[in-house]
């Protein structure tokens, strides 16, 4: 699993690549939490290159979504593969982390 982060104004964009599973979910959590700043208004997880995620990875996303909510920031997902989208739908995660087709759509949603 690799995370690359970039900033657009007060939004953090996180490119997720590879696999998030039970062996590296803790690394994913510390990398994601380490990249988020108190001043962030929105965090977009770009999952275009994410091959795989299990409940261990979903757990981290839920924890991060909860802590972002406390700082009045939003967590969004974009560019999910069909399989990841299915996992989000089955688990009801698409109700707590809104998903968008593209990064541009997600950024636009944060502006609205």
């Amino acid at each position: 699993m690799e995370l690359k982060t970039t900033r657009e104004g007060t939004n953090l964009i996180v490119d997720m690549e590879g696999r998030v599973d039970g062996t590296n979910a803790m690394d994913f959590q510390s990398a994601l939490e380490g990249a988020i700043q108190q001043s962030d208004q929105g965090v977009i997880m770009d999952m275009g290159q994410l091959q795989y995620i299990s409940s261990a990875g979903l757990r981290v996303i839920l924890l991060v979504a909860k802590s972002l909510q406390k700082q009045n920031a939003k967590l969004l997902g974009c560019a999910l593969s069909e399989s990841v989208r299915e996992i989000f739908a089955i688990s009801g995660f698409d109700k707590i982390v809104p998903v968008h087709d593209s990064r541009a759509d997600a950024l636009k949603a944060l502006e609205d």
């Binding site: 599973d21 039970g22 795989y52 593969s81 996992i87 688990s91």
Partner: protein, 139 residues
Amino acid sequence: MSNGLALTLENRPEELERLTAAVETLAEQDNWPAALTFKVNLVLEELVLNVINYAYEESGHHVDVSLVCNEEDLVIEITDQGIPFDPLHDAPAPDMESPMEERSIGGLGVYLVRSMTSDMQYRREEGKNCLTVAVPTEG
């Protein structure tokens, strides 16, 4: 189609990497669609990590994993000698609807497995947990 795979894993979480590598090799050999590889990896991870993390109190134990490829489904069997645990009845019901701040993650892994399998059967036999699940090859 190849016959499948059979592996004995130690009860250490790092063993998941060996299991994933074996699945990826099989998937390549048999030309599985990406969605099927994803499902098989997910089903195996959720069930095997449950055993590795909870079935035994100490290290040095094992979990046996087998996968048999059929035309219409892949049949996975997971066997361990740990404490009795029937995921069909003993896993907590997942929380799918609560607002984010109240949402908990317990039971989600088994719920994902149930949604990706066409059949799931548990039996306790000769001091072993035997779990058999079938992953449909289509859809």
